[in-house]
Symmetry: C2
Subunit: 309 residues, 2 copies
């Protein structure tokens, strides 16, 4: 059985629902758990509101799928999956605030600052970021210390000025400005791509993989991360708010440079398909090194590019 | 020579200026260094503005003094010192924002959001928090991985909902409300105390110390952390803005509960001295276990309680 056939037989819905159950349970237990470690003065409520009951959990699924592919430590992968989702969730909370995108709708619900106030939203985001690194460094789990440190390093770098925060700063500075294709790619490589790629790399580092496999997975992560943003830009134009669960058409309304505004809708769609092909080719490399468990990664890339919201 | 004599002979100014030189150099090299790893679109400038050229560096000095006392790894201590300062610096940036304390003056300079805008201030704070955890998990330094993971865990917990962010949430919820002494202590134990105590504990975990020494240092950290806030409350009433380098009298203006409003000025001063005595008694315990290098910790506690700004 070759890899594409393997992929076509793979049931993403079944696989995802199993993984998602584990992710939701872990997040629900670990995020400012009201019983075990209550967060004071409504902070826990805001943190849980920001994280639970919403979101596609794409990043956690990428972590778990990659860990599965490399036969890594499932406990480390679950912690990594939750940690990367906390970073993603906090970034949405802060990004939605009035001084940033000033958005009132997210995942079909009022945004955190609308529901809890700006100050609480700011604090909840800050606390979620700290919690991500707490997740990665348990003192009572069977996770090698070198692995813990490496996972922290990957996540910190992807979240910080050389990753997500850096990309957001470029985004901020480029509203109403024409960007070159190169600048637009750089912005998204950092803003969205870094954390998506980090999800793959964290999953990889939950196991012990050779340098060529790591390199192929890195390229898969880069292609998938970029494709995600291209599709996001397409959906911002083609889908409605109800389908998206967030305000549609806001890029154009805010005069933000996007792949659609730069290259047009048809070319953007073609580009997304090219990136999907590239991500699958990277997984061929992974398979060529003897790892054949890439079906979930293949299906996730396909789902991500061909999603409707 | 007994401990108090040792302490009285200790020259804090000399010791501090040596340590501060190392701290400032490390922060200047490592925080979004314009040469080695430039942060995009002004983000690096905002991050450096928030961290460099200002601040008493009390937390870093506590880390280094504790590491010295326990004979720990100086490289780990310098990284910990910088990491804890980044967490402190980011908390000030976010705390000063209009949706929180709305303060325009900090360390005698315009606050970050006044200088760079609110969105950039939000991002700079976020990026500084991520960078703290990057500092603690280098892949090219001679720091044991278990130590790296432990330092991350201590810092993440002290920064998050069970520490600083939790205390800030209580602070937010208690403006204009009468707090009991117990509630006020709990707020400050989290808001300021957790990070000061974490500074001591991180310094301790840069070495290998016995449980009783760790316990004594934990108590020193708790006493010093609380004393710091009591003195802060006193200075908010007794000092002027120029001396403080930040807006004086703002607790009363914002109707915030403080130790002074709860117990009066004289009793607050006595309480600060009691806490100093308790912190020194904890160090006697440390000395009793054979560690005699606590002079810097003693001098820091004394300075912190008897400071004028």
């Amino acid at each position: 059985m070759n890899a594409p056939e393997n992929f076509s037989l793979f049931n993403l819905a079944d696989w995802s629902s199993q993984q998602l159950a584990a992710i939701e349970q872990a997040l629900s237990c670990w995020v400012a758990c009201p019983v075990e470690a209550p967060a004071p003065a409504g902070l826990g409520d805001a943190m849980r509101y920001a994280v639970l009951d919403g979101g596609k959990r794409l990043r956690p699924l990428l972590v778990l799928a990659t860990c599965e592919a490399v036969g890594g430590n499932p406990d480390a992968a679950l912690r990594s999956a939750c940690a990367v989702e906390l970073i993603h969730a906090y970034s949405l909370v802060h990004d939605d605030m009035p001084c940033m995108d000033n958005d009132v709708l997210r995942r079909g619900k009022p945004t955190v600052h609308v529901k809890f106030g700006e100050a609480q939203a700011l604090l909840a985001g800050d606390a979620l970021q700290a919690l991500a690194f707490e997740f990665l460094t348990p003192d009572d789990a069977d996770i090698d210390h070198a692995m813990q440190a490496r996972l922290c390093r990957i996540l910190a770098k992807a979240a910080g000025f050389q990753g997500m925060a850096g990309g957001q700063a470029i985004d901020l500075a480029s509203v109403g400005m024409p960007l070159t294709s190169e600048q637009l790619h750089e912005m998204h490589r950092l803003k969205t791509g870094a954390l998506l790629q980090a999800s793959v790399m964290m999953g990889a580092h939950c196991g012990a993989v050779s340098a060529p496999v790591l390199e192929a997975l890195r390229d898969y992560g880069a292609a998938v991360g970029l494709a995600f943003q291209v599709v996001d830009d397409i959906l911002d134009v083609t889908a409605d708010s109800a389908t998206l669960g967030k305000t549609a058409g806001k890029d154009a309304a805010q005069d933000k440079p996007t792949f659609v505004s730069l290259m047009g809708l048809d070319a953007s769609r073609q580009y997304a398909q090219q990136l999907l092909a590239r991500s699958l080719a990277s997984l061929d490399q992974v398979d060529a090194h003897g790892l054949r468990g890439t079906a979930a990664l293949r299906a996730l890339a396909d789902m991500l590019v061909n999603r409707q919201h």
